[in-house]
């Protein structure tokens, strides 16, 4: 009987997949690395897979002292913290990081990235109301900035594929460990001293997927949003205020020099895309909300509106212009992360084939935005009206209480700052 059950009953408890780290796990590991770096440590990271296909990750300082060895062995996450030579085994990286960083880290992350749907809806309603009010006050703003005027502003906001951004981030990013002294596994504490963790150079500019504070989102959405000065890369590179305006006209893609890695949970998530967003929807029916803050002018190439790494048949896109949106083209691409592999948070991710989907938002026949999409659901993305089942433009339960006109799309909050869980 037990043998029969063993053959036919699927364990209810899910197990972590075998093989290399998943994109979700990579993002979580990168978050740990980012937090270490944020404390002033220059850390190196090395990834590997054992001969039994169990992945590991080693984080060390620039002196070669190993700080952490993290592995997924037989579905459990093992963490060796060399500072106290403790080895812990947990069900998931979440649990492991609770031990490493304390319980407050998760709360902080949730505040940063995930807010309850009800709160998010209220926030968005407030944000759009403020935008609407701001729009009314901006009497000198042309009614239609979808033309060259909008393009002038957009030119100041680099896209995720901007080579200068990629170069800057790659230069500022981490490098694969070299000259690392192995932690003396099982042989006493590692020689990690206070000096090895402190006093190390801080990166001048670096990708920080966790730096998406709700406070900043609120501030931006409330119309006080000059480009964030918190990030060096944003200085002088953010969207210029509209002439004669009070400088509150925030253009989408307002995080120059950064890429926000947004990861959905196991449930149904709504993830706001943008030109600096790499989204991982996770399980469930996920909605990828296209910011569409830029409308292409004649002759201009479509602007990037981010990357989706795991699009499935259960997921769909939501466009700000609803049924007016049309998928113009779906072109296979060998790597949706091309040019991004050196960025923190994306390091070590394999080449990810997918498609490049261009979308006409306003029905003028020109592709306005391009989204790079990977995952099993890309086969369902075909040119035509965005009401295609796999890429339906949702008009129900729309994120925007007011159907925004294209002229007001430039006031959307910077993409990648809110994840509705």
């Amino acid at each position: 009987m037990s043998a029969l059950l063993g053959d036919n009953v699927v364990p209810l408890r899910s197990r972590a997949p075998a093989g290399d780290w998943t994109p979700s796990e990579r993002a979580r590991l990168s978050e740990l690395i980012d937090r270490l770096s944020a404390q002033g440590a220059h850390v190196d990271v090395a990834y590997g897979v054992s001969d039994a296909n169990d992945p590991w990750c080693v984080i060390s300082d620039d002196a070669g002292n190993i700080l952490f060895h993290i592995a997924r062995i037989a579905g459990r996450v093992v963490v060796h913290d060399t500072s106290d030579d403790a080895v812990r085994s947990e069900d998931s990286l979440w649990g492991a990081f609770d031990h490493l960083l304390g319980s407050s880290w998760r709360a902080g992350r949730e505040v940063d990235n995930v807010i309850p749907l009800s709160q998010a809806q209220s926030l968005l309603a407030l944000a759009v109301a403020v935008m609407f009010t701001t729009d009314l006050k901006a009497q000198h703003l042309p009614a239609d900035i979808t033309g060259s005027e909008a393009a002038k502003h957009d030119d100041t906001a680099p896209s995720v594929t901007d080579p200068s951004i990629v170069t800057d981030l790659a230069a500022a990013g981490r490098h694969v460990a070299g000259g690392v002294d192995a932690a003396p596994e099982g042989h006493g504490p590692a020689s990690v001293t206070a000096d090895s963790r402190d006093g190390l150079p801080t990166k001048a500019a670096r990708l920080d997927p966790t730096d998406q504070s709700l406070a900043r989102t609120t501030s931006n959405a409330a119309g006080t949003a000059a480009p964030s000065s918190a990030h060096p890369a944003s200085a002088g590179a953010g969207p210029a205020p509209h002439a004669g305006d009070t400088g509150e006209k925030l253009l989408a893609g307002g995080s120059p020099g950064k890429v926000d890695v947004i990861e959905g949970g196991p449930g149904d998530d709504r993830i706001f895309l943008g030109d600096h967003v790499v989204a991982v929807g996770g399980a469930g029916h996920n909605t990828f909300v296209v910011a569409g803050a830029k409308v292409a002018v004649a002759g201009a190439p479509p602007e990037s509106d981010g990357v989706v790494l795991d699009f499935t048949n259960l997921d769909h896109f939501e466009f700000p212009t609803g049924s007016n949106a049309t998928i113009v083209s779906v072109t296979p691409t060998t790597d949706v992360l091309a040019g991004l592999h050196d960025l923190a948070g994306l390091q070590g991710l394999a080449t990810t084939p997918g498609v490049q989907m261009t979308v006409d938002l306003n029905g003028d026949g020109r592709a306005d935005i391009v989204v790079l999409v990977a995952g099993p659901g890309v086969a369902g993305l075909t040119p035509g009206p965005a009401a295609h089942p796999a890429a339906a433009a949702s008009t129900e339960s729309h994120a925007w209480p007011l159907e925004p006109e294209l002229s007001s799309l430039s006031h959307l909050p910077p993409p990648g700052q809110i994840l509705l869980g």
Binding site: V49, S50, W56, A182, H187
Partner: protein, 110 residues
């Protein structure tokens, strides 16, 4: 006091030698017919992926356990330690034992 900057050339050379050491360790293990997990069990390691780590050239076999590694791999402890020293501390190895060919270069030219 600020830490001296890491010399990238030296770091690259170190990494190259560590990887060579890792390949040598892996070859020795496979010659012994052991999986990484089996070797880790013999050595009493708390997680076997440490073997994969050092075989990948990340870090190195701690000095205090090199005798155990040699025994597990069926190698002479002095030879084992000497070989690893040549990879891990080539200058010290040169001072102790005189000029020896670069293990990576000599293997490449063979």
């Amino acid at each position: 006091m600020p830490r001296p900057a890491v010399d990238p050339v030296r770091a690259a050379a170190t990494q190259r030698l560590r990887r060579a050491a890792g390949r040598w360790l892996k070859a020795a293990r496979e010659a012994r017919g052991l999986t990484q997990a089996e070797l880790a069990a013999i050595l009493g390691l708390r997680y076997y992926t440490f073997v994969s780590q050092v075989e990948s050239g990340v870090g190195r076999v701690p000095i205090e356990s090199q005798g155990d590694w040699a025994a597990a791999l069926g190698l002479d402890a002095a030879d084992f330690a000497g070989t690893l020293l040549r990879y891990y501390e080539p200058e010290l190895h040169r001072l102790l034992f005189g000029e020896t060919p670069d293990p990576v270069e000599s293997k490449a030219s063979a």
